[in-house]
């Protein structure tokens, strides 16, 4: 089931009536979520990603625009008639019911021709529980489960009625680091097995990048960029997207384009033929610079952090906006730490420039 968002807009009236300022939570969102894909809505808190999710679910009504499931316009349809499954950030498992009762609950609400017999319900619940591997815990209460197990129960409860669309609100935020890694693989696996179109919301770019088929980066209610995770990472449309994706974060410096060359301070670091002269921000991915004696980009060397497979060269530069310039290199490469400075070579496809005023990407041809 594809999901289409058409000019979707949500405006919250201001809380303080006298101030009279409205909050535009989501502004003119257009997007077609392809059938059977896992889509991550990504952005900092307050960017409108959760509001978008809740509008898809029907729990919040859009101020403007339309939502289609397949070819059906569901904008006016209330939640229960949309056939969605929703996993809440805090799971919202009913604390007084056992795991089994929680999973059975949605099935017991079915009426008319959808009504199931007791045995059918139990079978469906068991099937869902097996899918998320909690079939051993059916008689426990939610309070007797770990966070990860609760998460699975919540997913089973959302899946048991075979929803057309599965929605997950910050699915991993309440889990510790180790469980997070494990659970996100699990979500990926479940989504692939069921083939249900799935939308999830997260503020953690690593989480979104690692499991999504498509990510949507949002900021202040406006969609910044949509695409496959790697494409967005390799080809950010603006400074915000470039900064938001990637750990460690991208290195950002001030610079200028003059006569087809990019300058950081006085040194020309890159040829960018055909680009007009302008003030720019320069973004260089940490894996895009390599220490090299003949490098064009010289920084003051601080130290080298070795972390097993990788090493991270930490340096500073007066034009840098970010506090340090970081290079991620293989730990096999030795850096002479006795020197005061380090010179880098820059990989052109990891090097982006953005207009200083609009912060939009300035494209150039890589030779």
């Amino acid at each position: 089931m594809k999901v289409v968002l058409e000019n979707l807009t949500k405006i919250f009236p201001s809380r303080d009536k006298k101030a009279g300022k409205e909050v535009v939570a989501v502004n003119n969102f257009n997007f077609e979520i392809p059938d059977g894909q896992l889509v991550g809505l990504l952005g900092p808190s307050g960017c409108g990603k959760s509001t978008t999710l809740y509008m898809i679910s029907g729990l919040q009504k859009p101020t403007g625009g339309k939502i289609y499931f397949g070819d059906d316009d569901v904008t006016e349809l209330s939640t229960e008639n949309r056939g969605i499954g929703l996993v809440f950030q805090n799971y919202a498992l009913y604390p007084h019911m056992t795991v089994q009762q929680n999973i059975l609950f949605p099935l017991q609400n079915l009426k008319g021709k959808d009504k199931l017999s007791k045995q059918e319900m139990l079978d469906r619940a068991l099937e869902a529980a097996k899918l998320v591997q909690i079939d051993e815990l059916m008689d426990r209460k939610p309070s007797e489960l770990s966070g990860g197990q609760q998460q699975r129960v919540a997913i089973a409860r959302a899946l048991v009625k075979m929803p057309r669309v599965l929605l997950l609100d910050e699915p991993l935020s309440n889990l510790d680091a180790r469980l997070r890694l494990q659970t996100r693989e699990e979500i990926r696996r479940i989504q692939k097995e069921t083939g249900i179109t799935t939308v999830f919301v997260t503020h953690d770019q690593e989480e979104a990048m690692s499991i999504s088929d498509v990510i949507v980066v949002m900021k202040a209610g406006v969609v910044q960029q949509i695409g496959k995770p790697q494409e967005v990472y390799d080809d950010p449309k603006n400074l915000f997207v470039a900064k938001f994706l990637g750990t460690p974060p991208i290195n950002v410096l001030e610079g200028k384009v003059a006569g087809g060359k990019v300058y950081i301070g006085d040194s020309a670091v890159m040829d960018v033929n055909g680009v007009e002269d302008q003030e720019v921000y320069i973004g260089i991915r940490p894996e895009g610079i390599e220490p090299n004696e003949n490098g064009v980009f010289e920084c003051k060397l601080n130290n080298v952090e070795v972390m097993g497979r990788d090493a991270s060269v930490v340096s500073t530069h007066p034009s840098a906006i970010s506090t340090v310039i970081r290079a991620i290199i293989s730990s096999d490469i030795r850096v002479d730490t006795s020197k005061e400075t380090v010179k880098y070579n820059i990989k052109p496809h990891k090097f982006f420039i953005f207009n200083k005023e609009t912060e939009e990407r300035v494209y150039f041809e890589v030779k």
Binding site: D72, N81, A128, M162, R164, E193, T194, I196
Partner: protein
């Protein structure tokens, strides 16, 4: 589970129907909810309404076979008559006196005890506090019998003292205030000690202002208690000089059914009820939070 449920898929024209149905259902359920609440509210309010219009009717109008829902002739004189026949003025003063004195004394005792339990360390503190809490389980009727004898032996029969002293200590209020005091960080107390502030000054300057909402709740409940008390005053001080308002009201109109002058009686009830209402309207927030914490009537 590899396919979405066919049953869930809805046809385009169904959607139109469903969304209209949804709206009708919503409006209908809201209407029913409001209708239910308004009817219940009318039932709750009706006795008050009936009290007021009855208190303004002439006796003849009240005794008509067909009831009137608004007095034809408004008789404020019923209120004057009620005030004089039931000696409401004296009753007011008695009740106010008992209420104020017991509130003030009770607050002092409660604050001192709560402070000791919350901030001071002494041997047997936990045991004593536990013992106090245990007494809350026992219904008051059990104490009344012996207290009646005690008051008699102390020679306090028919005095205000008998109405005030036995109820000065409320374990529950001590408990409530102690919890409140405990939320105030201990560092504040230690800092005050370093500066050489006396306990009393610290109490007065720091703890009491911070615990003010609780103290106000206690005051209101205590005053309401004096206003509504009936059984104990009836036992120990039912003479004219010391009568409390509820007892006076009940005694002045002993005829509950039959030929009583109901308009005057209703006027008296309205006069007695008015102060509580006024206090409630002014201090709604404190009363409702106090009640929801205490669960004690008056």
């Amino acid at each position: 589970m590899s396919k979405t449920n066919a049953n869930n898929v809805m046809q385009a024209r169904d959607i139109q129907k469903v969304s209209v149905g949804q709206k009708i259902g919503k409006v209908l359920s809201k209407t029913l909810t409001y209708a239910f609440l308004l009817i219940m509210a009318l039932i709750v309010l009706f006795p008050f309404y009936w009290m007021i219009i009855s208190s303004l009717k002439t006796l003849a109008e009240y005794r008509q076979a067909v009831p009137t829902f608004w007095p034809r002739q408004i008789m404020f004189s019923n209120y004057v008559e009620a005030f004089t026949t039931a000696h409401l003025g004296d009753l007011f003063l008695n009740t106010l006196y008992v209420g104020l004195v017991s509130t003030v004394l009770s607050l002092v005792i409660t604050v001192l005890s709560a402070f000791a339990f919350a901030r001071l360390e002494f041997k047997g503190k936990e045991t004593l506090f536990g013992a106090l809490l245990a007494t809350m389980m026992i219904p008051g009727e059990l104490f009344t019998i012996t207290n009646y004898i005690t008051i008699n032996q102390l020679g306090w029969m028919h005095t205000f003292t008998a109405l005030i002293v036995p109820f000065l200590v409320s374990v529950f209020y001590i408990y409530l205030l102690r919890q409140n005091f405990m939320q105030i960080p201990n560092e504040l107390y230690l800092a005050a000690k370093v500066d050489g502030t006396s306990d009393i000054k610290y109490l007065w300057k720091v703890m009491i202002p911070l615990a003010l909402p609780t103290l106000i709740s206690i005051t209101i409940l205590k005053m309401m208690g004096a206003w509504n008390s009936y059984i104990w005053p009836k036992l120990v001080a039912n003479d004219d000089a010391h009568q409390m308002i509820t007892n006076g009201l009940r005694n002045a109109f002993t005829d509950t059914s039959g030929q009583a002058n109901y308009p005057v009686q209703m006027a008296a009830v309205a006069i007695v009820s008015a102060p509580l209402f006024l206090v409630f309207l002014c201090l709604r927030k404190y009363i409702m939070s106090g009640v929801s914490r205490s669960g004690i009537k008056g």
